[in-house]
């Protein structure tokens, strides 16, 4: 988990606000849960602050499976961050 090279992918207005569809990051050691990841990303820069202004509404998927904000992140290869879905 800590210090692991991970792919982040963004969708919808989260993607637009952060200004990119994906990136690779090294997850800091101190990040354990999904919510901790969102709060850490939010303080990276203004774009992330805008995208993750209300982290409680943001959805996260770990290796393409929905995760709760309290879930441990573990060591996924891919973490997706996106707004509530509006398909169908």
């Amino acid at each position: 988990m800590a210090g692991v090279d991970t792919k982040l992918v963004y969708f919808s207005w989260v993607r637009e606000r952060v200004g990119k569809g994906e990136e690779r990051i090294i997850l800091p050691e101190e990040i354990s849960t999904v919510m901790e990841l969102l709060l850490w990303l939010k303080q990276r820069d203004e774009s992330f602050a805008a995208a993750l202004e209300f982290p409680e509404i943001i959805r996260v998927a770990l290796d393409q499976e929905h995760a709760e904000h309290t879930d441990k992140i573990g060591t996924p290869r891919e973490i997706a961050i996106f707004p509530p879905m509006t398909g169908g």
Binding site: Q64, E65, H66, F82, G87
Partner: protein, 154 residues
């Protein structure tokens, strides 16, 4: 043809409901009920020129498969087809199709509606509006009703 058949497709192309129905029913005499739902793009009084559907490739398919598997476990469904489009879709065009077949109508109706309710809130698709006034920046908000609709199955 096997007695249970599930098809999940995520595609940009349009689909033909009659063709998909025939794939589930043709040559069979054990199906008594076919429940079908299709979701169309609304023009919202001509304020919209199109919807642009973004999706998460891979996860979109696997989330729909999770929902169809659950539906097959819950009801005696013979066949279940789900097709969801992505990309630019014009008012009046089709977005999503669900077909459930069964011996009796309750399983077909319940199965189709269950899949739609979970697909709405669980499948990673997002709709962006292209507006007639030139504003292409608005993403459709998730509806509270859709969360409530999912809750009725618990």
């Amino acid at each position: 043809m096997t007695s249970q058949c599930v098809t999940v497709r995520v595609q940009s192309e349009d689909f033909d409901q009659a063709v998909e129905t025939a794939l589930l029913t043709k040559g069979r005499t054990d199906i008594g009920a076919v429940a079908t739902f299709s979701g169309l793009c609304r023009g919202e009084g001509e304020t919209l020129t199109a919807l642009e559907l973004e999706h998460y490739p891979g996860m979109a398919e696997s989330e729909i498969e999770t929902v169809t598997n659950e539906a097959m476990k819950r009801w005696p469904i013979d066949g279940l087809t789900v097709i969801h489009r992505y990309g630019k879709i014009l008012p009046g065009e089709q977005i999503v199709l669900v077909i459930a077949t069964s011996k009796h109508r309750d399983a077909a109706f319940d199965g189709a509606r269950y899949v739609m309710d979970f697909l709405k809130t669980n499948a990673p698709f997002w709709k962006k509006e292209h507006r007639a006034d030139g504003d292409d920046s608005n993403w459709v908000d998730a509806r509270e009703e859709d969360e409530q609709a999912k809750a009725r199955w618990e």
